[in-house]
């Protein structure tokens, strides 16, 4: 019943543009006039007349998105030299197609192709001469590592695909193109491993991408919001990355990746909470060190989200939990402050967020100002003036630093937002409030599922084997199986790579 109602009231009727077919005129002028009209006499539409096989001809192109050097070398030069022959054979471009429908021509032109028309011929030649303007491959600034590959994605889709394919020379790597956004015609690429990714997952992602019907798609953020399962959740469910090695690692775990033209970030899905705390760095270090650092990161998540709340609860409700001498030193600093701890914490936390946001916007030349204002004025003077207590400044500073430890910017923002409701709960109910808040968060994490994968796997539901690469990183030779959460087709990934230990020819 509900389904029926939704069907009746939905306004998502597929509005197919009526496709008119229009044969190419035999007159050159008429053709040109038609194309110009279709493109509204845009100023960057250019044409040049040529002569071939004793016929008057025209090359039409957009000067803004075609490579004029290529038009010169691949079309005009051979035609001027040969003067006669078969057009297909004379032109040296890679991609030539013949079209007899004039209505397709404007569409080809805006994609960076150039069109050859001849007097009296009812076919046009469409030649691909798209210009490529791209920046060079640099290390992504917000995902730097100490060891490991230092290349990152750029705004050019083909380059990004190149970076992935070069690392993953495997015929099973499948790329599927999509064009979404009726007005912007943004090109997307869906990447997955045919022999690993779960077919249901691929089908679901394909289905969701196809149902996007917005006319402008600026960034992968749009796509993420359209396809994610729980849009009301605070936790990011899709991993953004600009690192090709990270993409490859996730592809090899059976996940899928979406790349979009015009943006350097790749979307990886489905991911678990713990993927946000894994970094390519972990696998370049010795496993003990890597494990230690990963534990540190997860601990920083806990610190960033609950330390301010815990401080408020202890100061406001249960100071007796602290040892006596500590209470005295903390209390002596707090007694001079006119506000209750929650107000103090909110003031400091919001100031911190403002500073952080300002730091992102400020040009680097004035960046020092932030250091002076933030470090000296806010940190020192606010205490001197008796507005905020020293312990509170320490707590907030600790929170800020811990929240930046997360290798993904999305999760670090979520973490800090998470702190606010916990602070309010702890100001109202003390430790019990924090506990209920944490319980609520845990329930929420239990509940989240993205693309059929439990978000808090492998803890909930518990799977012991996958814990090897969650809180700590076991040695790579012991990670015999892939993580189970994306339901890959093959689980085994490694077997006896250290076999040489057994067949060591008796060395004493």
């Amino acid at each position: 019943m509900r389904y029926l109602l939704r069907k009746i009231f939905s306004n998502k009727q597929t509005e197919e543009r009526p496709h008119m077919k229009m044969n190419v005129f035999s007159s050159l002028d008429k053709n040109l006039e038609f194309i110009e009209n279709q493109l509204f006499h845009s100023s960057d539409l250019k044409w040049r007349s040529i002569r071939f096989n004793h016929l008057e001809g025209l090359i039409v192109f957009f000067e803004s998105i075609t490579d004029q050097q290529r038009i010169q070398n691949e079309i005009i030069q051979p035609i001027e030299e040969k003067r006669e022959g078969n057009v297909d054979k004379v032109i040296t471009s890679l991609e030539i197609t013949k079209k007899s429908d004039l209505c397709e021509v404007p569409h080809a032109l805006i994609q960076g192709k150039c069109v050859l028309l001849f007097e009296g011929t009812v076919e046009v030649y469409v030649v691909d001469v798209t210009a490529v303007n791209k920046r060079s491959i640099l290390e992504p600034e917000n995902e730097t590592v100490i060891r490991g590959a230092h290349d990152g994605f750029i705004e050019h889709l083909m380059t990004n695909l190149f970076l992935v394919r070069k690392r993953l020379m495997n015929p099973n790597l499948v790329v599927r193109y999509y064009q979404i956004g009726k007005a912007t015609n943004t090109k997307l690429a869906l990447l997955y491993m045919q022999d690993l990714a779960n077919p249901d997952l691929v089908k679901e992602v394909d289905h969701r991408i196809n149902s996007i019907s917005m006319d402008t798609i600026f960034s992968p953020g749009f796509i993420a919001e359209f396809i994610e399962d729980n849009p009301y959740s605070l936790f990011p469910q899709i991993l953004y990355t600009e690192r090709p090695d990270r993409v490859v690692a996730h592809l090899m775990e059976g996940r899928v990746t979406i790349l979009s033209d015009g943006d350097p970030s790749a979307l990886i899905l489905p991911v678990t909470f713990f993927s946000f705390y894994q970094s390519p760095d972990d696998y370049h270090r010795k496993w003990l060190v890597g494990s230690f650092i990963r534990l540190l990161r997860l601990m920083s998540f806990i610190i960033a989200s609950i330390i301010p709340a815990l401080y408020i609860a202890i100061i406001g409700f249960h100071p007796e939990i602290l040892p006596e001498n500590l209470i005295f030193s903390v209390k002596s600093s707090i007694d001079r402050v006119p506000f209750p701890p929650i107000v103090e914490a909110l003031i400091m936390q919001i100031t911190l967020e403002v500073l952080r946001e300002a730091g992102v916007r400020l040009p680097s030349r004035v960046g020092q100002t932030i250091g002076i204002v933030g470090g000296l004025v806010i940190g020192e003077s606010v205490v001197r003036a008796g507005l905020i207590s020293y312990p509170m400044v320490i707590v907030i500073a600790l929170t800020a630093i811990s929240s930046f430890v997360a290798p993904s910017n999305e999760i670090s923002l979520s973490t800090r937002l998470l702190g606010f409701p916990l602070m309010i709960l702890s100001a109202m109910f003390g430790l019990i409030g924090i506990m209920f808040g944490l319980l609520f968060i845990l329930i929420h994490l239990c509940k989240l599922e993205s693309f059929g994968t439990a978000y808090f796997a492998p803890i909930m539901p518990l799977r012991m084997k996958d814990l090897k690469d969650t809180f700590i990183r076991f040695p790579i030779w012991s990670l015999n199986q892939r993580p189970h959460d994306p339901h890959p087709k093959r689980l085994n990934q490694e077997r006896n790579s250290r076999e040489w230990e057994q067949d060591d020819p008796g060395k004493e």
Binding site: F429, G430, I432, F436, L442, I443, C446
Partner: protein, 361 residues
């Protein structure tokens, strides 16, 4: 019959039983069993665990007859439509009353130990909202949380272990000081903190696998929790002398209050915070049991629609239980309810089904 989304594995089933059994009772249990069984209190707990094992066996045998029905759908099959529905409502009220008492006792303890000045209604609303968020989910999500929150039991165990710094084993000797009769009487006291295994009646059809495995999982859960309780009681018995024991209503907390770390002085507060998890899960288990029934009768099987007004009922029950006389009355009702609905009635129903089967063949 049972949708894929709410199926749970047998391991999860075990943790669901564990989490439904651990509840508010644990804090006052040592005091209560000691009153009648003296130094043999821990034996009382073990006896109670054994008794529960027998009850679990009965419940399992009953559920096994109807592998794809919850208690609400097999009751009418056995007793006929009208009586069956009437009994279902009795079960729903019993489950709701249990949830209400758990909530009320939780609020009492928190008010006594941590938040002396917070109004009771605020605390109730906070805990009910959190429970509601979980209870509205399908069983799989609930089971996932129950598995992870079982970690808190380990934390509680570790915290209790610290008590072994200064113990006096002579307090429990002679073990049979009170006599076996008194020890068994203590076991009836210990039965009530251990309730919650009734959840088998409701979630049995949701569990995957064969019936033998389900029995094993439920029994293992019960065994773990009995041992945990017995351990806690034993620890309290060797720490407090019999004379002191009768003076402290919540021995576990008093015991923890006595210890301190270098950095944390009040371990009882930490214990209570962890205990919040355990109580909430127990409460959710009761609420789930009740709302599955309500959902079946009023919302075509969607239990989540029944959760909000069930919460309202619980709120009122917990507010009423503020009066000691009313809370005593609730306790008595629960005892009667437990014996009738969890022990007596299933036994009768079981005999009944066997008779019906026999007559048919």
């Amino acid at each position: 019959m049972i949708p894929e989304k709410s199926r749970i594995s047998q391991g999860q089933f075990m943790f669901v039983v564990v989490q439904s059994q651990v509840g508010v009772g644990i804090l006052s249990l040592p005091n209560k069993v000691q009153a009648s069984a003296k130094g043999g209190g821990w034996i009382s707990v073990l006896i109670a665990g054994l008794a529960i094992q027998v009850i679990i066996l009965i419940l399992w045998a009953l559920c096994k007859q109807f592998p794809s029905d919850t208690i609400y759908s097999f009751l009418p099959k056995i007793t006929g439509k009208y009586l069956g529905n009437l009994l279902s409502f009795a079960y729903i009220s019993y489950f709701l009353l249990s949830a209400g008492t758990v909530l009320a006792k939780f609020a009492d303890v928190v008010e006594r130990w941590i938040l002396q000045e917070t109004p009771r209604w605020a605390l109730l609303i906070l805990s009910l909202l959190t429970c509601m968020y979980l209870a509205m989910e399908n069983l799989r999500v609930i089971a996932r949380l129950f598995v992870i929150s079982s970690l808190t039991i380990i934390v509680m165990l570790v915290l209790t272990l610290m008590g072994y710094v200064n113990v006096n084993f002579s307090y429990i000797f002679p073990i049979t000081e009170a006599g076996w009769g008194k020890i068994v009487k203590g076991a009836t006291e210990a039965l009530f903190p251990l309730v919650g295994y009734e959840i088998i009646l409701v979630i049995y059809p949701f569990v995957e696998g064969k019936s033998g495995g389900k029995l094993k999982a439920a029994s293992l859960g019960n065994m773990l929790i009995t041992l945990f309780y017995a351990f806690e009681v034993f620890t309290c018995l060797i720490i407090f002398s019999p004379a002191v024991m009768s003076e402290v209503p919540e021995p576990l907390l008093y015991m923890l209050k006595g210890f301190s770390f270098q950095l944390i002085q009040r371990i009882d507060l930490i214990f209570l915070s962890v205990w919040v998890f355990v109580v909430s899960t127990a409460m959710v288990a009761w609420i789930y049991m009740a709302t599955v029934g309500l959902g079946r009768f009023f919302h075509r099987g969607e239990h989540k629609k029944a959760v909000p007004y069930a919460m309202f009922i619980l709120f009122i029950l917990a507010m009423m239980a503020q009066e000691p006389s009313i809370s005593d009355f609730f306790d008595r009702m629960l005892k009667i309810g437990h014996y009738t609905f969890v022990v007596g009635l299933p036994l009768i129903l079981l005999c009944f089904t066997y008779l019906i089967r026999k007559r048919r063949t």
